[in-house]
Amino acid sequence: MGDILELAARYRDEGADELVFYDITASPEGRSVDREWVRRVARVLDIPFCVAGGIRSVADAEEILNAGAEKVSVNSPALANPDLIDALAARFGAQCVVVGIDSLVTPQGYRVYQFTGDPNRSRDSGRDTLQWVREVQERGAGEIVLNCMASDGVRKGYDIAQLHEVRALCSVPLVASGGAGAIEHFRDVFRDADVDAALAASVFHTGAIAIGDLKRELRAAGIEVRP
């Protein structure tokens, strides 16, 4: 917890534009993210803060938002109960509702995976990614985070082809996730996949990429970013 607060403050000071907290083992373990934790991080942050992890009901989301998050992100719970997206959007407005999608390239096309936080339980949800992208927007998602699983953790760049296909179907903000390893990967995904934001974790946690350097280089490449 101390480490997380320190990280949150560091990213705030370095100029991160949004912080997303994923409690990725919450859904596979049948629990949801710790409210006290959300409260403590929200207290130090003065940038948008999105929280994900086992949010299965309007009541769960309300507690997380009341603890100081701006947005809630649902992934596995939305696959189990798609009506959750409609209910969250009706209660809090679409701008509060992010749908996270873990998508894998397979011989059958792009497939949505569920419970990806636990390698033993991760499985094909039975849904086609492009179809699910359309459906979640109809149900009221205000933002989509597309995590391209084959790229995730490999640090060889975002899956531009897949993000580009999803972008064409996506009229809400689209966030690229999975694959960032170098500054040019961010430049490429903004330029070639026309995403609204790019998410990364390990390259920032380890200090491999400093946010200040990243933003300077993006600006030099003609991509508008907040200084």
Partner: protein, 198 residues
């Protein structure tokens, strides 16, 4: 007692605003009590959710008639700013009518997803104590699917396919379409400026 009142309009998500005021060393109280709001040195009308829902709640608590009559500084944030206008296309809702214009729905277009979500800089149109210390290149965090047109009350505009009202003022009523509580140091500056008004 110098305590800023935050109106409980029923939406969740008031904590981030309270934390932002707390970081500025200001005390705040969340309430929907008419008397407390009347006596407050300054009032913030936040808003997350839909216009129709928020107006129904304000009507049910008697605040819809009180708010336009307040004489102390009032700051509407995001939906709270939109509620200051006469009406919103969101659910065809009659709003508080402090400003005569109507709030319109943003149309998604290629390259312009809706909701508009992200950091934008402002075009500063008029000087005002609320914008003290704010520079043209400063960025603010926006999240909205509806917007107010630029009008004579507009202090600053934002470009999103067209020019929209980002900051408005009429008399003792101010509004920001962006979220100052989530706009880093520049947002904190706006809140600090507001705290000095009352």
């Amino acid at each position: 007692m110098d305590e800023t009142v935050i109106i409980d309009s029923g939406g969740a998500n008031l904590a981030s605003l309270q934390y932002a005021l707390e970081r500025l060393g200001a005390r705040s109280r969340v309430t929907s009590d008419v008397r407390e709001i009347e006596c407050a040195p300054r009032v913030i009308l936040p808003g997350v959710g839909s216009a129709g829902d928020a107006m129904r709640r304000l009507q049910a608590s008697g605040l819809a008639t009180l708010l336009p009559r307040l004489a102390q500084p009032v700051l509407g944030i995001c939906l709270g700013m939109q509620l200051l206008f006469a009406a919103s296309e969101e659910g065809d809702t009659a709003c508080l009518g402090v400003l005569p214009q109507s709030v319109r729905r943003l149309e998604a277009r290629p390259g312009l997803p809706v909701p508009h979500m992200g950091w934008n800089s402002l075009e500063l149109l008029k000087e005002d104590p609320l914008l003290d210390g704010i520079e043209p290149g400063d960025y603010f965090y926006f999240v909205h699917g509806y917007a107010a047109p630029v009008c004579d009350a507009t202090l600053a505009a934002v470009e999103y396919g067209e020019k929209l009202s980002a900051v408005v003022r009429r008399g003792n009523f101010w509004g920001t379409q962006f979220h100052p509580e989530r706009s880093g140091r520049t947002g904190a500056r706006i809140l600090a400026n507001f705290l000095r008004l009352g």
